[in-house]
């Protein structure tokens, strides 16, 4: 008796492919950067980061890279940058858990910028 059938092998591949793909950074065009300096973390950036990561995973968005950066941003923290080739750089302020979910669902998934949360910031030094 075969230990693994053809369909078993294929389902392992399907399952594991998803995990391996998360490491593949080629072809990922949308970058989300969460400011995680001391003041950012104090303002709740850790929750923001985790929420974004979870939601992106839930939605299965495989073109997104989530990274962190240090502080260097003034208020209103937590601050999140979203960069996409089409829409360029958009910066959001006061990103709480609820906003984080919206960023993923509206901006990342559907390409709609959250105008009410958008802020203008000078480039970091």
């Amino acid at each position: 008796m075969a230990k693994l059938s053809l369909s078993d092998l294929r389902s392992i591949r399907e399952r594991e492919e998803k995990n391996l793909k998360k490491r593949d950074i080629h072809g990922r065009t949308v970058h989300v950067v969460v400011a995680m300096g001391t003041s950012g973390i104090n303002a709740g950036a850790k929750l923001t980061l985790n929420t974004i990561a979870d939601e992106v995973e839930k939605k299965g968005l495989d073109n997104v890279i989530i990274t962190q950066t240090g502080s260097a941003y003034p208020n209103p923290e937590p601050v999140v940058e979203v960069f996409s080739p089409k829409q360029g750089l958009v910066i959001y302020g006061n990103v709480d858990k609820e906003t984080a979910v919206r960023i993923v669902n509206e901006h990342l998934a559907e390409g709609r910028i959250l105008e009410d949360k958008k802020i203008e910031l000078k480039e970091e030094e």
Partner: protein, 595 residues
Amino acid sequence: MGFKNYILVCGGTGCESSRSDQIYHSLIDEAQAQGVSDQVQVIKTGCFGFCEQGPIVKILPEDSFYVQVKPEDAKELIAEHVIKGREVTRLLYNKAPRKAYEEVEDIKFYQKQLRIVLRNCGSIDPENIDEYIAADGYKALEKVLFEMKPDDVIEELKTAGLRGRGGAGFPTWMKWNFTKQAEGDEKYVVCNADEGDPGAYMDRSTLEGDPHSVLEAMTICGHTIGAHHGYIYIRAEYPLAIHRLEVAMKQAREYGLLGKDILGSGFDYDIEIRLGAGAFVCGEETALLQSIEGHRGMPQPRPPFPAVKVLWGKPTVINNVETWANVAQIINKGGAWFASIGTADSHGTKVFALTGKICNSGLVEVPMGTTLREIVYDIGGGIAHGKRFKAVQTGGPSGGVITEENLDTPIDFGGLQKIGSMMGSGGMIVMDEDDCIVDVAKFYLNFTVDESCGKCAPCRIGGKSLCNILEKITQGKGEESDIQQIQQIAHAMRIGSLCALGQTAPNPVLSSLRYFPEEYQAHIHDKKCPSGKCKKLISYEINPSKCIGCTACSRKCPVGAISGEVKKPHRINGNVCIKCGVCKETCKFGAIEIH
């Protein structure tokens, strides 16, 4: 919750020897200690190839390429990079952080490379079969077991034009076809992992970084030719590669990808490892097969060729590791795809172990037809310490030197042969102006003399005689007639030896004689070694106008050959000097000269 960062730690032998295993464990411990073990996955991969800069740690998704990492750096990497999201600049290869959404900047070392054989090395965990499966692993086996006929497989290899990567470049499809057509119910598949060229480690790295690619290919071959048993012949000096192979085979058996009734196809196949004691001659296929059977590793006359009748008297396919590693890709992507890469004469890619006096030594895989200049200067970063390029030795002890004038020759099987060298298994040793060509030839010859099995007189006696002549020349006792004698002995060895070891042993001498006749003449006529390597032909002297009498050299000299008063020029007593060169290394004023 998903992982936010993936840390890839190189687990090749090179990086492991610089404590990469400790780095791996420190990273896991630190992630735990700093409370982020649920956010970061640490993976030990195969060789990244950029061995010069090892140990290498790569963190995704930022694609931060950290080099020369130490176990002590783990704490900082976790605290700074993973937790705070700040790259640890001092450990980055290019020492400059970049904004997250900037294009991933390619490192020059990787730009001209194309990775087919090494496709999974440095990206998957070689000890986890699931990762190999995820990277399209065992897909080719599926195809071969359920969709293709054995003849289709051979046809695909024929279209691909895959040639043996062990050195001789024999078409792989022909080997498989001979064995398939050979009569007999029992046949064998053998993987030659007895890599022995000085400085070559392509096969080791492939097995360490992607062992399943070889297992899958051997199983495909077994099904194609009708064999149920495979052997991997590997030298015991490769403990890490053996370990990874054993883990891979165990996992494949658990999944039933080796063993009885593979994937329910009714096909039975299993693989066994045979350890060699590390004799160079066992890389020769007939000697290797003798060794598998438990005999002394000595070459046998051919015919019969292995394809028809060899292992246990049965038809056998024997391919080299790198050849095997190409097979699954060819089945997956098609022979035409493979044939589109490389030159008309040689398709696909070739892995080279670039070593010697080069800035970026490491493992490189390039399409056939890439020029040596591109490998040495673009990928290798040129000659180390600003010295002048002298030559490259390809093909190891069976190959020859390639000089400046041939640097633009496209590298393929035919191209290298035309300029008096050979592809060999892929060792590439770069020499600079400080290397004496006679000394290098002597080194290779000493190697083949040591490794000769002693069966045939031309190799056993010829090799030793050649060595003696070269020794004489480097001692300043060379005579005009020596050159002619070298050529005569070389000719006899070439036609009289049974196997390639003896036939090709004189190549390094002949090829250096062809490209550097003036250097041999300098040794023989003028009793001089132009690069200052041959100790009997040089003397160390102190240039009194540069020496300030600091006494540094005389304090370092192990035999007390240097004398002089403080703040006055010193002298070297030539009768006492052992020419170790320590004084030259010590002197800060360049006052010590070689004559």
